[in-house]
């Protein structure tokens, strides 16, 4: 059995645009779930609203497609009602960081046994390209026509600070690393948060001179830097580049978790 067997063949091809990274993240998540040896009957995928949240509709397992930003609230309910279920949450940056921000920090604080895969495409893709809390400074969107002026919300740092047990960030180009990170998140008891930076050529790239899928992926590849490399640069006293996004595993710890079956 491979990850392709988890897809609902009758629903494919999905509605994502050409070159959308969300399909890649679903592949990596399902591959990790497959590696864990979980079955269709004991796994639940939960999502909110947005491009990323269409994902559970293409997967064979039971799923909940919930209200905007409240995926984590519903997931908490599912996990506490039946701790035997493995709960995976698909969510996006607008869903998790903007409208569901409070649910996110409190889910991290409670340390519920969930795995959250956040497909951060740096924009509200489904509603037409409005600026999200993760839109980079200077990027053009329909609500920031002169360039986004606000500082970017660093979701992984937020999860580390709020108390998640496992936090990692990769891009949709790093498929192997992302799969391993999701698998480590699934193995960790307690709240695990994996942020996947994905390309959005349609809503983000079109307005920011990254119209081709390859340009957008190249942008993701060149704008990230490994956390280990940042540490080495700090130890050597070299200046750390400010504009690069750190990727890698941020934290792995054993705070007491909620919802773990004894």
């Amino acid at each position: 059995m491979s990850f392709e067997d988890w897809f609902r063949e009758d629903r494919l091809p999905h509605i994502y645009c050409t070159g959308c990274g969300n399909g890649t993240v679903i592949n990596c998540t399902l591959e990790a779930v497959e590696q864990m040896g979980w079955t269709v009957d004991d796994t639940v995928f939960i999502s909110g609203i947005g491009c990323s949240s269409r994902a559970p509709g293409y997967i064979k397992t039971d799923s909940l497609h919930t209200t905007h930003g409240r995926a984590l609230a519903f997931a908490t309910g599912v996990k506490l009602a039946n701790p035997r279920l493995h709960v995976v949450v698909f969510t996006g940056d607008g869903d998790l960081a903007a409208i569901g921000g409070n649910h996110f920090i409190h889910a991290c604080r409670r340390n519920i046994d969930l795995t959250v895969v956040c497909m951060n495409n740096m924009i509200y893709g489904m509603t037409g390209g409005q600026g999200s809390p993760c839109t980079p400074v200077g990027a053009i969107s329909t609500t920031t026509p002169y360039g986004a002026a606000e500082p970017v919300f660093d979701l992984s740092e937020l999860a580390v600070t709020a108390g998640a047990n496992y936090v990692a960030r990769w891009t949709s180009y790093h498929v192997r690393e992302l799969t391993k990170a999701v698998q480590a998140g699934l193995e960790t008891p307690g709240f695990s948060f994996i942020e996947a930076l994905t390309q959005c050529p349609t809503a983000y790239g079109r307005r920011n001179k990254l119209r081709q899928v390859s340009d957008m992926v190249q942008y993701l590849r060149t704008s990230v830097i490994l956390v280990q490399k940042i540490q080495r640069m700090r130890e050597r006293g070299e200046p750390v580049p400010e504009d690069k996004i750190p990727v890698g595993e941020f934290v792995r710890r054993n705070r007491p978790a909620m919802g773990v079956q004894k």
């Binding site: 399909g23 890649t24 498929v175 992926v217």
Partner: protein, 90 residues
């Protein structure tokens, strides 16, 4: 095993051309019946998964299938299976 692109699913994003270490996927040049330029396969028998999956009993590499956002890349069982002599250039 045989490497196949499912033309009914591929949307022509050419992400597979960026990840294949053997550059088996090349950008295509003709439209298919859905109006999409599907990547062209350049000597797909060089793919390590095609050659060695039987020997190792698991999926090798598979980066193209993992990165394909439209789940269009898969491997078909070839019958009768016959070993092929291929030249690998690095």
């Amino acid at each position: 095993m045989k490497l196949v692109i499912d033309e009914s699913r591929c949307k022509g994003c050419n992400l597979c051309t960026m990840v294949c270490p053997y550059h088996i996927f090349q950008e295509g040049d003709r439209l298919n019946e859905r109006g999409i330029i599907v990547p062209r396969l350049d000597r797909p028998e060089r793919c390590p998964n095609c050659r060695l999956q039987k020997l190792y009993g698991r999926r090798l590499c598979g980066a193209c299938a993992l990165i394909c956002p439209d789940q269009a890349i898969h491997w078909d069982e070839e019958k009768p299976y016959e070993a092929q002599k291929v030249v690998i250039e690095y």
